[in-house]
């Protein structure tokens, strides 16, 4: 324990302020990280509640609980809230907590902007959620908000939806600028780029993706706003525009966006697997290059989301092959993780369970992605539950399991206490079973032709849908256990040592647990 830097808390550093104002005014990266994580969890439950409405309606064929328009609002809001409210803020929260500690910086580069980028999020989501109670209802056009559904045929509340997307975009861009500025300028002496933990690397690349595509999203919603309110015709054929243009611009944002939601999870898993395999990460350099390649490729494959719009055959072939190319760097990563585990002294504490499940289940999602990339086959899969199964496999056991793995891994560092290992394992196994029950049958219903975003379906899909619903409810309720475990861990428990995981590496483990309010005010020595 000699490596622990305990002697650096000097008297001129103040601790956190008292009371609620601490959280409103804070510029401390750890406080803001905590805010992001709690906000994200609240949104996770909110989006999950909407998934419950969807799964309850789909429990049996026929129209049971909600009317179709409300059902459409649920699918739309579930997607928007989970993407922009749960997954993205959770990763920003992890980055806020961990990036400064991992690179040996005292805080983020711009602490005040950091405060602001968090605090506009609750307002954005309050505005977005309020549309559900307005006349005409909230957004009902799917989270991809294709024009003209989101322009000509949209409910009046769409303007508020557009404004809230703008706010989320501003928040993400500010967060991304902050992370890049921190990583590029505030690294401790000796912390060269190629010594950075992979979580920092994946976040650096993610931040560049955010800066490149969130403004394009802002652009596309601005065009929608102009079409709705100012009589322009960006997406209206009657005025010389083109609805297909919407899809091109949207997916130019949308495809990098899906990597924004997964790359930081790659980073988390790349920290956890070596720690519990007690071996250094296999192929560090190739991991960095693979991440960068995935980020680059994400910009040139967008039209594989729109194979059925009537593209020329050359376009279909190009986007098909370019998409398949992504399997190469992704495969590099998966094999590196497996090789890291190979002949390691493995133990399976909760973070490792989530990380191993991540590798297996994300790969399943990757394979169904490859199937979808085959343009002629996609004509059958397009807009079916097969697509739903695919992106839930990469997002739930991908992004969400990555976040949960990271939370369990770093909770001792954050709280100073160990979480309840038995309950953590129960949480994992119930999530694992629930999630597979919910989403695996969707592959079959999708291949059999069940379209997505419908409140009712043909009778032959009844059994699989019932299984999906049961799995979804199991997965959803299990997350209350997660909430309980986290709160229990904050309240107390077994004291955590500075480095509770035997094989863990990185500057964050040189700090005591819980990490002091101010860390690395004098830069650490990096070997």
């Amino acid at each position: 324990m000699s490596a622990v830097l305990e002697g650096h808390t000097t008297d001129h550093h103040h601790g956190p302020a008292k009371g609620l104002w601490r959280w409103v005014l804070t510029t401390n990266h750890k406080d803001i990280g905590t805010l992001y994580l709690w906000f994200s969890f609240a949104m996770f439950l909110f989006g999950g509640t909407m998934a419950f409405v969807i799964r309850a309606e789909l429990f049996q064929p026929g129209m049971q609980i909600v009317d179709p328009n409300f059902f459409n609002q649920m699918t739309t809001m579930h997607g928007l809230v989970m993407v922009f409210g749960a997954v993205m803020p959770a990763f920003v929260g992890l980055a806020n907590w961990m990036v400064p500690m991992m690179v040996g910086a005292p805080d983020m580069a711009m602490p005040r902007m950091n405060n602001w980028s968090f605090w506009i999020l609750p307002f954005a989501f309050a505005m977005l959620s309020s549309t559900l109670f307005m006349e005409g209802g909230g957004p009902n056009f799917g989270w991809t908000f294709y024009a003209p559904l989101s322009t000509t045929y949209a409910p009046p509340s769409t303007v508020l939806f557009i404004l809230s997307v703008h706010m989320m975009g501003i928040s993400s861009i500010m967060g991304a600028i902050n992370i890049i500025a921190t990583v590029l300028n505030l690294r401790a002496p000796g912390m060269t780029l190629m010594k950075m933990p992979l979580f920092v690397w994946t976040w650096l690349i993610t931040a560049f993706l955010l800066i490149a595509v969130m403004p394009v999203l802002a652009g596309v919603v601005t065009m929608m706003l102009m079409d709705i309110s100012f009589g322009t015709s960006f997406f209206s054929a009657a005025g010389g525009g083109d609805p297909v243009l919407f899809q091109h611009v949207f997916w130019f944002f949308g495809h990098p966006e899906v990597y924004i939601m997964i790359l930081p999870a790659f980073g988390v898993v790349s920290a956890i697997i070596p720690a519990f395999a007690r071996k250094p990460l296999f192929g560090y350099t190739s991991m960095v290059y693979a991440t960068a390649s995935i980020a680059f490729l994400s910009f040139i494959v967008w039209a594989h989301h729109m194979f059925t719009v009537g593209m020329p055959i050359t376009g279909e072939l190009y986007f098909m092959y370019a998409t398949m190319l992504i399997a190469v760097p992704t495969g590099v990563k998966v094999f590196n993780w497996i090789t890291t585990m190979f002949k390691g002294a493995l133990t399976f504490e909760t973070p490792m369970l989530f990380a191993v499940a991540f590798v297996i289940l994300f790969t399943i999602g990757g394979f169904s992605g490859l199937m979808l990339a085959i343009a002629p086959a996609d004509f059958q899969y397009h807009d079916t539950y097969f697509v739903v199964a695919h992106f839930h496999y990469v997002l739930v056991p991908g992004a969400i399991f990555g976040i949960m793995a990271g939370v369990y891994y770093w909770l001792p560092k954050w709280t100073g206490y160990m979480y309840d290992e038995t309950m953590g394992k129960v949480h994992f196994w119930l999530s694992f079973i629930g999630m597979n029950l919910a989403f695996f049958p969707m592959h079959f219903t999708g291949l059999a032709g069940m379209p997505r975003r419908i409140p009712d379906y043909a009778l032959q899909f009844a059994n699989f849908n019932m299984i999906s619903s049961v799995g979804a409810f199991l997965f959803g309720f299990t997350q209350l256990l997660f909430l309980f475990i986290v709160i229990k861990c904050i309240m107390g428990g077994k004291k955590a040592s500075a480095k509770p995981w035997e094989g863990a590496e990185g500057l964050e483990w040189m700090l005591p647990s819980p990490a002091p309010y101010h860390t690395f005010t004098t830069p650490p020595d990096v070997k």
Partner: protein, 180 residues
Amino acid sequence: MAMDSSVKKTTLKLVLLTLTMFGFGFAMVPLYDVFCEVTGINGKTNNTPYQYQTEKVTIDKSRTVTIQFVTNNNDKMGWDFYPKTTELKVHPGQLESVVFFAHNPSEQAMVAQAIPSITPFDAADYLHKTECFCFNQQRLTSGEKVDMPMRFVIDQALPKHIKKLTLSYTLFDVTPSHSN
């Protein structure tokens, strides 16, 4: 904590990148149009009359191409709108003329815009219209009927594998935007 100059520099660059990408989003609008025009994909035809020069054109009697005409009404557009000829066999290079009929059965004057589309899309570059009602908006008073001519020539360079092509018009109601 005062921001040190390297952080300021990085931030400035990133803000510029953000603004550039916002601009790029809008730049995609003309870029896609240019791309579609250059490659002739998307079935978009020229929106300006083709200059037909008799002395340059030789009619390729050895080939016959079938052209079909299809009309659709967009959304709640209430006009009767159909081609008087639904199918024509033509030789490339030969100037042809067809008539489309439109009738406004509503109580008030309306303005319509027809948007053409061609399949297969790689034929789009080879259908030249010398005259088309789709070049302009059409205004019809209540109950008015009109025969609208469309004159076209199929280019002799039309790829050999294309033996049949479909010209589709979708009629949009553009009355409200026209009135302000």
